[in-house]
Symmetry: C2
Subunit: 258 residues, 2 copies
């Protein structure tokens, strides 16, 4: 199978760097083909702007989504964007690996999402009507592919527990797992999260690495998070609220998991 | 009073651009002094990397937090970072204005947070002991200042309602309002959110603008979101979970609001 690893850490000799190298080897040893988008090494351009379209003339008003649509439809996207879209279409599974900085992904990876997720590619796809609200949240160009987060954080696991001060890790990651991965169609596997990274040393590293190895071995068989498909009947359209008979007493992120 | 507006939109002739200009004028007309960090206009460097410290020698291993600490303590931060920290210390209130892209702030603004929020400035501040876990979540160098988000989104208000498919807006913004603003000490005001931006035209714009104007007029009197202070007794230390008698039946982000 084909795996794309999108990786965002500035230091190769870091815990993240070691785990990235381990991931590539583990997957290749199992017979898979791996491509790595090492965003810092690539000097990935983070800000979405008018330069993302080859067609943009200076002085014209820039519209982030409409200009993205025009560039995507007319083969006028900047080459770095088109190349990453090709990798996504090639992949059977995509892994996003990053340190959790300020409760989200690093800016350089956020900029990868904003620029690669073009209008017509990752959003603005499909029919909008009384019965469907585009192909998103369970449908879309990336449907049938798997995705998984590999995340490191300095905080303790208890800080991210159901009553932990940072909020539950599932909720902290919801905007990424549901809003960025499930949105264009990925089946999203439970994340692999490493806590309290400052305490990881030569003695404790092998256990962390081997647990990741198991997750990689099971990439094709692990059950995805059962997010509710938007157009499967659970939501009213166009309000896109859960129907009254679906999880009637629930609100918030958890209500969108069956 | 002094207000810092940190603004992240690539097009001056956008809805966001109009609201930014309006905000500056409204505050100045009320006698306040305003500084604007227009991140796209400043060509703000988004990725946090070894270049953020003037001391870094090439070839050395880069450690994001320890190198940030060293640079902050020794006056070795890159000039753009130090300058933004000065603005934050100068401000009585800070407004972050941005379009919601993929359920979070634009990459360029995330990179502002990551680089300006140095170790010793926004985190790693204060005593860590059995009684206190640093000065954060209600304490810190930015305590006593107010902060507010001004956010635009293409989605409908119902999509961000308690049972809306994108998740409740309060939960979507929690990692920013609690994790980025409350963390270093800001009192965080309820956000001003504009939904369904594609429908805003010359007829509907004045109402949107005037509602923002009212929020700006009330910047000093609006009650902040009552997040629970970390060291105020509601949390066990060091697990940092809510004490059993505090909101005993609640879990998730909402449990951290009194």
């Amino acid at each position: 199978m084909n795996v794309l690893l999108v990786y965002a850490h500035p230091e190769p000799k870091s815990l993240n760097g070691s785990l990235k190298d381990f991931t590539v080897k583990r997957l290749e040893d199992a017979g898979h083909t791996v491509q790595v988008s090492d965003l810092y090494a690539m000097k990935w351009k983070a800000p979405l702007d008018a330069g993302d379209s080859l067609a943009k003339e200076s002085g014209e008003r820039f519209h982030p989504s409409l200009d993205s649509k025009h560039a995507f439809e007319n083969g006028l996207q900047s080459e770095d964007i088109a190349s990453e879209q090709e990798k996504l279409l090639w992949a059977d599974a995509v892994i996003l690996q990053f340190p959790l900085w300020w409760f989200s992904m690093p800016a350089i990876l956020k900029g990868w999402v904003e620029r690669v997720y073009a209008y017509g590619f990752a959003y603005g796809v499909g029919e909008h009507s009384d019965a469907r609200w585009g192909e998103r949240y369970g449908e879309g160009k990336l449907a049938g592919k798997r995705a998984m987060l590999v995340v490191t954080t300095g905080g303790w696991e208890s800080h991210y527990s159901p009553r932990g001060i940072n909020g539950p890790i599932d909720d902290v990651l919801f905007p990424i797992q549901h809003g960025i991965l499930y949105y264009p169609g990925f089946d999203v596997l439970p994340p692999y999260v490493i806590y309290r990274t400052s305490r990881i040393d030569k003695t404790s590293y092998p256990a962390v690495r081997d647990a990741l190895g198991e997750r990689l071995d099971n990439l094709w068989t692990t059950a995805p998070i059962p997010f509710r498909p938007q157009n499967g009947g659970a939501y009213t359209i166009p309000a896109l609220t859960l129907r009254a008979d679906i999880a009637p007493d629930e609100t918030g992120f958890a209500a969108h998991v069956a």
